[in-house]
Symmetry: C2
Subunit: 137 residues, 2 copies
DNA sequence: AGGGCCAATGTTACAATATTACATTAATTG
DNA sequence: CAATTAATGTAATATTGTAACATTGGCCCT
C-alpha cells in the first residue's frame, strides 16, 4: 500500500480488487474478481480491468499469462515497481503458485543482445507439480 | 512433417493450419488463421483450434502465451517433440519473434526442487525491442 | 468385401476473456 | 472558484476459446 502511494491513488475499486486478489490465496481470474466485487451483484468488467492494470503497474500484483489470471506479489516491498519482474511455479494439479526470482536474468539478456534485442520484461512460468500434489498421486 | 508422421496423421486441416502459420512469418492469432483458412469464407473455430492443439503436441508450432498467438517452431528437427520447449524474444514494436533456447534450465529446476516442485514445462517470453526497431526510434 | 471400431471432422451454440467509446463524477491545481 | 485532469460509470461489442453431439473416413479383422 505504501508502495502504491508512491505512484497514484489507492481508490476504493482498486483496493477492493486488491483485497480480493490477496484473499484468493493463489491465482484468480478477472471474472472471479468481477463476480465477487459487490456483495449482491457483479462489477462491470472495465472497473476491474482498470484496477488490475493499475495494480500491475504498481507492482502489487502479477499477471500469469499462461492462466489468464492474477496473483498478489509476494515481494513488492523488496523491489521498485518499475524493475520488478518475477517468475512463477504453477501447480497443474492444485492451482497454487509460488513466486520465484528469475534465475540468470543476465544470461537471457546476453543471449538477446547477440541479435541486438533489448529486453524490457521477462515472463517466466514453469508448470508442473508441487510437492503436496506429487505425494497425492 | 516427417516429425509429425511419427505421431499421427497430417490431415488437410492440419496441413492448411500449419501452412498459414509458416506463411505468417511471425506469431499469428488463431482467428487470423480462421479467417484465412478458406479462399472464400472463414473456417469454424473448432477446426482450427483442434489443428493448433495437434501441431503444438507434435512440436511443429509453439503457443506464445503473452500474445495469445502461435508461431512455427524453428528447431523441430533438433528435438524430440516431447522434450521440446523454447523461449522467445518478442518485439513490442514490429511483432516479430525470435526463438531461443532457454538458458540455464537446470537452474530453474534446481530452484523449483528447493520446495519440492517438479517442473514439466517452462514458458519463457522476453518482450522488448529488436535491433531494427531500436534503430528506427 | 462387410462389419466394427476409433480417430478426425462438421456444426451449432455458447462460454470466457477483454476492450472501445462516450458520458459523468471526483480530485487537484492555478 | 473555474479549469483541468484523473478516475469511474455504463452500454455495447470485440476477441478468444470450448462443449456437445452428429457424421464421416480410415483401418483392421475375419
Amino acid at each position: 500500500m505504501l508502495c502504491a502511494e508512491a505512484g497514484e491513488r489507492m481508490t476504493s475499486s482498486r483496493l477492493r480488487t486488491y483485497e480480493l486478489i490477496l484473499a484468493a490465496n493463489g491465482p484468480i481470474k478477472a471474472y472471479d474478481v468481477i463476480d465477487r466485487f459487490h456483495p449482491e451483484g457483479a462489477a462491470k468488467p472495465p472497473t476491474v480491468y482498470r484496477a488490475l492494470s493499475f495494480l500491475e503497474q504498481m507492482g502489487l500484483i502479477h499477471r500469469i499469462e499462461s492462466l489468464n489470471a492474477f496473483v498478489a506479489c509476494d515481494t513488492h516491498d523488496q523491489h521498485s515497481a518499475s524493475e520488478h519482474t518475477a517468475g512463477f511455479l504453477l501447480c497443474e494439479c492444485c492451482g497454487q503458485s509460488e513466486e520465484i526470482a528469475i534465475p540468470n536474468v543476465t544470461d537471457i539478456e546476453t543471449r538477446a543482445a547477440k541479435t541486438g534485442f533489448k529486453v524490457n520484461h521477462i515472463t517466466l512460468e514453469a508448470r508442473g507439480l508441487c510437492q503436496a500434489c506429487q505425494s497425492d498421486q
